[in-house]
Each structure stands twice: as structure tokens, then as C-alpha cells.
Subunit: 270 residues, 2 copies
């Protein structure tokens, strides 16, 4: 790795935009482990990388279901190349993308998990089958064919990418111990609703709380249990700012409460 | 591979449904090479499988752009693991899924391409950059950073999966020589429109042309330049049937002409 540069060689403002003109209250972020658990908990489609007979990588599409600790269960057939690859070499990796991506897909969340696929046996098998059937109802039909095997990925490595310039690795233990963001199922709706019906409130938040008094437009781009990310247009260029919620959201419906509070605070400060 | 069974061990009707009761005109299918080219031409998001330093598979998300012959161009940074992997071992595989999947994602189309990633150089580079920028506009910004390299996948293997029980491999030469289905950009709209506004016509097609005079319901599930696939409900169970178009569609708008002709023929036969 030392042969490679460690950062993009470009002026910082190309990637980050103009700096805020007023102080901004520090806003906590979800940990990389929580980011990863959240994406994994809210998806069911993944791409699987396995090693072919000659060691060359092989990419395929799979459905997965996460167990309680975020370990994904797969159900693979030896009629498919990935199923035969795994019998020979259990090393595998999954990439799981955020559902419902709007805009540039490289500016959206995804997680790579890597480790070994281990056949699920004994007491674990019924729980794994039940979890898998919720994600893939048709597996009730094919899951018991003799060419299919249920596997769980024993995770060695977790790499989260949230979008341009937002990425980090997580320790596998931290990943298993973290919980998915409970507000996540409400995030897409909240973003759409804020942008469609509350553009004025978003602009006031950017001007009064976000450090951009010169903002002329503000758009909600991400929301999570801890805060709201705005993309801010100013005469100096486009930037992003994050606003902390007064209280963390603990359910999808809390996102409304938290953003109403932000709007009130911004109005009060103006 | 000989150690593995070569087909699912299950009663055929579980997967295929009841047989037709009347003769059906044979309906041509797109070749596996055309199926693969069509999926690749209409997507831009792929999962990339590369080999990590220890040879373990690594899955990541990428944007690709196909060249004229269907070979995908990638733009990878050595700041990302996949970019470093490829410098060490150029063997790679992409899986590309059909856009806009409705219903069970394993019953939808995807293609695995495998081969070697070769750096694009000389005359090819400008064409590759231009194609890539159409798929990933932001690459105009980052594509020239020194940590990014443009690659083209030199394809050794092509595996197409169309859904349950629909899959085949294609020879790389056939893949490069095939053309994407020119009607494909109109397929999603045609399927939705047929199911929402022409359920009666679909039922008549299934009964009069599709070999299921006992059909009680028919739903359009796939459409391509050569024909229309219907899912048919009968008192004997659910099955699928394919209806050949009188003339192949050569543009998205031709799908309307072709299905109107099918509806007329079905009406005339009743």
C-alpha cells in the first residue's frame, strides 16, 4: 500500500466547497460500524465475489438476510458457479448498496463485507432459513433442494463507503456489536418531504444554524438518527453542512419531530 | 464440476407450471449474447470482484460505461482497495443487473463478465473517457486525478441469468458481435401499460394464441424485440407462455405496434 498516494491530489475546495462563515454546533456522526449495519439491515440484494477454479474473481447477484449480529445468510446452489466456487474456497465478499439511490450512485452508501462462508448447521439452521425466507420468499420452494446450501458469512473485514469523501473501515467486532439506525426506514420519505414541501425552512436552517448566512438555496441530502445533512448553494459555490438534532431519533417517526425542532430553532435565531 | 449435480432435483411442474392445452406457434428468443449485451447497454452500475493481496475475493461498487463492442470501461482509484487490487492482479469480474427490477430480484436479468482489466491508452483513451463521462458525469472532475486509471475489461467469460430457469453462457466473440436489443428502453413502460390498461387483451392472447384456453388471468412479465412473455393463471396452476411478434421491433415505439397486432390476432381467433 505504501507505493500508492494516500489522498487525492487536488485543491480541497473542489471536493469540499466553500467554508462556513459562522460557527456551527458540532454534529455527531453515526460510527462506520453503525453506517454499515444500517445499510445491511435495510437491503436484501447483494453482489457476491468468489474465487473461480483458477483463483480469478467471479461476481454474481444474490439475496441475503442478516442475522441479529449483522452476519449475512446466503442460500447458494452448486448449479451456479458461485455455489461451486464456495465449496472449493470459502473466502467471499459481499457488496451491499443503499436502497433507492437518487442521483449519482457513487455518492450513495454501500458496504463491503469480506470473510469466509460457513455452512449453517444445527440450531442455527432453522433461524437462518426463517430469516432468509423473509428476504426471499421463493426460497421456501427451492431452499430445500439438495443442490442448495445455507451459508453464513463469518466477517473478517468491513469497509463502509458513504459517498464521495465519506468512508471508513470498521472492526468486525464493532460491526457485530453495533445496531442499525432505527430511524433509517423513514429517511427516504423525510428527505423527499423536506425538499418538496419545506424548502424555505431548509434555507433558514442553513443560514441560521448551518454556518452559511449567504446561502441562497439548501437541499436535504441525508438524514439519520443524529442529524440532517444539507447541500448549500452560496455565491461562493456549493458546500455541505450538518445540523445536529436536539434528541437522537429512535424510530422513523422521530425524524419529523427532530426536523420540526430544527426548523423552530432556525426561525427563533433569525 | 463433475462432482456436482447438473440439474435441480424437483418435480418439473414446480418450476414450469401446467403444460399448454393447445398448440403454440414457436416464438424465437434473443440469444444469450444479445440478452447480455442488452443488460450491459442499459445499465451503468455494477459490482466489481477483484482479488485482495492474499487472493481473497473483494466486492465493490463501480460505475461502468460500455464501448461499442460491449466491453466495459471502468475508472478506478488506487485510494480504493479495488484499484490497488487490480494493479497487483488484473483479473476481475463484473456483475450487472437489469435496471428497475419489480418483484423477486432473483427472477430478473443479470450478467457476469469476467476477464482482465487492461489500462486504456493511446487513441482509445479519449473515447473511453467520453463514454465514461456520459455514465458518470462527476468523472469529469475526478477522472484526471493522478490516482485514477481508466481500464477496459477484456472479456474471457460471459454468463447471463435471465431469472429462474433462464440462463446460459455466451462466447466472448458472440458477445462482442451481438447488438443490444434496440427496443429495450421501451420494455418497462410497455409491461406496465399492458398490465394496467389491457388486462382483457392479455387474457385473450393467452387463451387464443398462448395455448391456455383455460386461462383466467394473464400478466405481461417480459417483452423484447421478438415477443411477449405472459404469466398465465389457470385452474391447473400458474405457468408462462411466450407469444412471437409478427415483425421484430427495431425501436422502443415498435413494441406498441407489435402488441396491438398480437391483440388483433387474438381477437380475430376468438
Amino acid at each position: 500500500m505504501t507505493a500508492f498516494p494516500t489522498d487525492h491530489v487536488a485543491p480541497a475546495e473542489v471536493l469540499t466547497g466553500p467554508a462556513p462563515l459562522a460557527p456551527v454546533e458540532p454534529a455527531p456522526l453515526r460510527s462506520p460500524a453503525e453506517e454499515a449495519r444500517t445499510i445491511v439491515a435495510n437491503g436484501k440484494l447483494a453482489a457476491l465475489a468468489t474465487a473461480s477454479e483458477d483463483g480469478a474473481p467471479w461476481a454474481s447477484l444474490v439475496i441475503y438476510a442478516p442475522l441479529e449480529d449483522g452476519s449475512p445468510v446466503l442460500c447458494l446452489s452448486t448449479l451456479a458457479e458461485h455455489g461451486r466456487n464456495v465449496v472449493r474456497d470459502p473466502r467471499a465478499s459481499l457488496v451491499i448498496g443503499q436502497a433507492d439511490v437518487i442521483g449519482d450512485p457513487l455518492d450513495s452508501g454501500r458496504v463491503t463485507l469480506a470473510g469466509e462462508l460457513v455452512e449453517v448447521e444445527g440450531d442455527e439452521l432453522e433461524a437462518a432459513k426463517a430469516a432468509y425466507k423473509r428476504a426471499a420468499p421463493a426460497s421456501g420452494l427451492y431452499g430445500n433442494f439438495p443442490d442448495f446450501t445455507y451459508y453464513v458469512l463469518r466477517i473478517d473485514r468491513v469497509r463502509w463507503v458513504g459517498g464521495y469523501g465519506r468512508m471508513d473501515s470498521a472492526d468486525p467486532g464493532q460491526y457485530r456489536a453495533a445496531a442499525p439506525d432505527p430511524s433509517a426506514p423513514g429517511a427516504d420519505y423525510a428527505i423527499r418531504h423536506l425538499n418538496e414541501d419545506h424548502a424555505d425552512a431548509l434555507l433558514q436552517m442553513a443560514q441560521q444554524l448551518g454556518g452559511y448566512p449567504d446561502a441562497t438555496k439548501a437541499k436535504a441530502v441525508r438524514i439519520d438518527r443524529l442529524g440532517l445533512d444539507l447541500r448549500v448553494t452560496t455565491p461562493r459555490g456549493t458546500s455541505e453542512t450538518r445540523l445536529a438534532f436536539a434528541e437522537p431519533a429512535t424510530a422513523p417517526g422521530d425524524l419529523r419531530v427532530a426536523t420540526v425542532e430544527l426548523a423552530k430553532r432556525a426561525r427563533g435565531a433569525s
